[in-house]
Structure formats: C-alpha cells, structure tokens
Symmetry: C2
C-alpha cells in the first residue's frame, strides 16, 4: 500500500476514491521521517530541511487517525494565494500584462488614447506614466480591458491571450511559469484528503479557465476579485454582461471575507507570499482549535527567479514576514528550499 504517490492534478476524484478505499492510510504514517524513508517522496522538488519537514509533519499529524491532531476529511481545507505563490508575479502581475496587451489590441478603435493617460503610457511603453495615473487610472484600464463583454467572451479573450503571450525574461507561456514545488504540494494535500482552493487578489474569471488544467483546482474552488455582472436575455439566450464596476477585492482583509463567502469554513492551512495574504493566514491559523499550518513563500532567488520582499511594488512582503516569526508560520527560502523552480 503506497498511499502517498503523485497523481496528475486532474485526477482529484480518482485520488479521493483511493483515499476512501484505503481507510488505513493515516495509520500507516507514523512520522514525517518515516514517510521520507518508507514512502515515495511526495515533495521531490523540495530540498530536505526544516520547511519541507514542517509540511510533512503537519500533513502526517492531521491525517493520523486516532492521533491527537486528526482532522476529518471534510475539514481539510487549504487555501492558496496565486500571484507569487503558485506562479510568477514579477516584473508585474500577469493579469496586468494582459491588460496592457489588451489596450494595444483595442487602441486602433480609440485614437484619443494616444494623448490620454493611462492609455498613452501603455502605448508608449511608459509604465511610470501608467503608475502615476494611480488607482483611478487602474480602474479605467480594467474597465476597458475587463468589462463591456459577456463572461463567455471574456473567457475566450483571456484564454486566447494566455495561449500566445510569452514572458519576456523566460520566453515561455505564463502558465509554464508555475512553481513545481507548489504543484507537488497541491497534489500532496489532495492525495491526503484536502480540498485545495485558490484565494487570490487576481480576477476570479481571469484564473478559472486554466486553474483546473494547471493546478488541478476546479473553477468552483477559485476565489478571487471580481467586477459586477448583469443578467440579460440576448436573442433568447441568457448571458452575463461584465460591468465596469468593482464587485469585490479579494486582497488583505478581503481574503478571509472572500473565503468565508465562498467556502464557509475556516481553512486549516493557508499558503501565501505577500502582505496581501496576512489576514488569510491569520484567519486560517490563529484562535481556532486543532492543528493549523501557515506558509509564506519568500522570493530569495534572483538567479533562477526573482529576489524581493519589503520594498517590492508587486508582492510586497513586510508585515507578513514579521508575522510569520511570531505565529510560527513556515517560510520558504526559495533559493535554499526549492531544488527546482518551474514545472517544465
């Protein structure tokens, strides 16, 4: 019996079935060390050390039937941030790269953009001018690139873009710039009976078309930011039309709020990489009974990926890094803890 094996992400239901058929799973796991020695390593891209051991230890404890920290299947909820936790967020959020590209596609229909910020900045490649337009400019960008179409049309626009867009540094599709160690972690948790969710500041409809294929997380387990939609019967068929109005921002205090709204249970494990994830980790780990696990991915590898934290524009990690020490959250030192970075 080898309960801990790596299944492809798509096989969640099959994996659960294996679980259900193997009630003795947990009993067989005596300790993290035993797992490492007697089972196939569920986290082969993680170097041996305290971080990896903390993960194995937590999962072993909550899955050990009869043990003091055992958690029933239905309460094994884990939430993951996306940008900077599961895929690259430098030199800018992928979704922002999409918005900038989209402005360029739409520009011929909007000659006035040549002299109007933030659009002029986008077209001139002057990111500073775009940033200088502040939140008002950002909302305008989102309005023209993310609204004014049906949900089905938006899904096609983003999917087409993701299929062809390439990251400038790595020359690869963004969906290949996902972290192999985190994919292993997602799979390991699922084979251990967890339901894995994404809770991201990114747009919920920007992520859903590909999260199942890339992460093994189905659309209904993705929580994110959203704009308002309007239901309309159009030529006899129902549509949802995307409006230029913010509905929900799933960041900072928004993360526990969004998690409560979508999941309705507190996660027992949460994974993030920035101050935007602080409240999600607090919600998952503090003041609740039972074993809890928090983890922060610290980007420390400028050579293989990026190194940034307290001063970064995107994915600033400052307060949450201090909170990690206080709350005993694990901190991934990317350079030291990860044997490899990307999946391919």
């Amino acid at each position: 019996m080898k309960p801990i094996v790596r299944f492809p992400p798509i096989n969640r239901r099959v994996m659960l079935s294996s679980l259900a058929m193997l009630p003795l799973l947990s009993v067989s796991l005596r300790s993290a060390a035993a797992v490492a020695q007697t089972q196939r390593d569920p986290l082969p891209s993680w170097n041996e050390g305290a971080t990896k051991a903390s993960i194995l230890d937590f999962v072993t404890r909550v899955t050990t039937q009869g043990g003091p920290d055992f958690v029933p299947l239905d309460h094994r909820i884990a939430t993951f941030d996306n940008d900077g936790t599961l895929w690259v967020e430098q030199p800018m959020y992928v979704q922002l790269a999409f918005a900038l590209d989209r402005v360029k596609v739409l520009a011929p229909m909007h000659p006035e953009w040549k002299t109007k910020q933030p659009f002029a900045g986008v077209l001139d490649g002057d990111l500073k001018a775009v940033m200088a337009s502040g939140e008002k400019g950002l909302v305008e960008l989102i309005a023209v690139t993310h609204a004014g179409m049906t949900t089905a049309e938006f899904e096609k626009i983003t999917s087409d873009w993701l299929a062809t867009a390439r990251d400038h540094r790595f020359k690869r599709p963004y969906t290949e710039l996902v972290y192999q160690p985190m994919l292993e972690l997602l799979t390991y948790l699922r084979t251990s009976g967890f339901k894995t969710f994404i809770a991201s500041g990114g747009g919920i409809e920007f992520m859903r078309p590909w999260t199942e294929r890339i992460y093994g997380v189905p659309p209904e387990q993705v929580v994110g930011s959203s704009i308002k939609t309007r239901f309309e019967m159009k030529d006899g068929a129902p549509t949802l039309f995307r409006l230029p109005e913010v509905n929900f921002v799933d960041d900072k205090t928004g993360k526990p709020i969004g998690i409560n709204e979508h999941i309705g249970r507190r996660p027992i494990a949460a994974f993030g990489n920035s101050d935007g994830d602080l409240e999600m980790l607090q919600w998952a780990t503090i003041g609740a009974s039972g074993a809890r696990f928090g983890l922060i991915v610290h980007h420390t590898d400028a050579e293989r990926e990026y190194a940034y934290d307290r001063q970064s524009h995107f994915g600033k990690l400052d307060v949450a890094l201090d909170a990690a020490a206080v709350n005993k959250w694990s901190v991934v030192d990317m350079k030291k803890d990860w044997q490899r970075i990307f999946a391919l």
Copy 2:
C-alpha cells in the same frame, strides 16, 4: 454490480470513489426503463409517470459513456433552490420565522420596540403590520436579527434556534420538513457523478450549518444571499463581524450571477419552485450545448403540504410556470408525483 443505490448523503466522497472504481457504470444503463426494471429504484418516493421518467432519462443520457449526450464528470453541476424546493416555505420562509422569534428574544433589551414598527407588529403577532412596513421594515428586521455579531456567534444563534424551533402545523423541527423525493434526487445525482449545489434566496450563513447533515451539500457548495462582513483582530484572534448592510441578493437575476460567482460553470441541471428561480433555470438550460434539465416543483397538495402558485406571497409561481411549458422543463405535480412528502 449495482451502481445505483441509495447512500446516506454524508458519503459523497465514498460515493464518488465507487463511481471512479466503476468506469462501466454508465455503459450498464441503457434506458430509464431498463434502470427501473433491472436496478434498485433510485427514486422510490416518486410515483411512476412522466416526471420521474424525465429525470431518469436525463441522468441516463448524460452518464452513458459513448452516447451522444454524455457529459464528463467535471461538468455535471446541478443547482437546487432551497425554500419550497427542498424544504417547506409556507406559511412563511423559515428564516423569517427565525427573525420573528429572534425579535421576541431581544425585545426585553429594546423597550422602544413596543411602539415601533415592524417590531411592534412582531411582538403583537400582527404579521400584516410587519408586512406593511415594507422593504424598509424588512431590512430593519434583518439588521437587528442577522447583524451585529460575529459569523461564529450567528452560527451558534441559528443552530440553537433550529434545534428547538417547531413548525406550528406539523409540530416538528424545520429540518425535518424536507422533501423525501428531493433528498432521493440529490443522492441519485451525486451517485451519478454530479456535484450538487444549493442556490437560494435565503441567507448563505443561515443554511450552511446544516446543509451537509440534512442534504449532503457541504458549506462550500451553498450559494445564497448575504450581508457584508468586516474582518477584525479581536483579543488577538481573527473574527468576521456581520454588518447591517446587504451584500448580495441571490434571487431572480441574482441566481445566475451568484452561480457564476461561486461555481464559475453553468449548471446542466437546475431545480426550483418559484419565479425567483426563473433566471437560474434559463441559465442552466437555454442557449448552451449538450443535454440540459430544468425542473419546477409545483405545490399542489394542500392536504399533505400546501397548494399555491400564481397568487402566493411566498414562493409565487407564475411566470416560471408558463416558462416551463415553453422550455420543456419538467413540472412536479406534488400530489400526483410524490408518494410521500417528508423525509421522516
């Protein structure tokens, strides 16, 4: 091999495992008639007839591997209204009964309520006066009974109430006034690989504490109306505080919007009983490819439950009943189609 058997609702993961272990499931089902003759009846509380046959036929078609209407597991999404579809909504919504009872509990702390509507009406048992206070009155009622506490406190208040409150006519807990035929339908769909969701105009946090136990639907698969919450660290522990402000109304056009926000995929089957479910059924069944199924529960049995439709205050069924004929949605004639009404 008897793939269609009735599992208790709690065993969703085990059921899925059986499914995954029985890839030949669908192949064995040739037609609704064959099922009825050769398998144990998955819907024993449904009388034989066109309505029952339409359900069996749909499920058989979408689960028949290699057949023209086969639907992969991940797309088998079904959404159910709650009030009037899964449990009783007369003589008033259960949640309104909770609010009225809660006003009585809180009244000693609010002497001014004795002369102030809608509270005076509640305390005097004068429902007409309560209704006359209109939407403004209703919002005030919700504010004092549903807000001003943490999510954890609200869960305890509603759970305690549901454990002791009794329906006046049937003298039973409300959670026993759920429809046995619909419980069988939920289970049948899950054993057939569906993920079952609730999409209700009722409060999402009012339903979640008991939907898993009663319906086999876990909290993360419940969509409903909600009020806003605020994240706060209180005595070092994270809390979500319920605010007297509407966040989302999951009714009428709100149903497809809420379903899209929570599930991110269009259901292929939807079940409702009132005009509030019209847009959900449209969203599930019209203008999308593949086999689709809509069903309306028509309350026609004044003796065993209630008879109401076009003129009812609660659960008005008028436009959606006409739409059912046009769109070929099945309509349950409760008196004729259901051999029994309640679960116990």
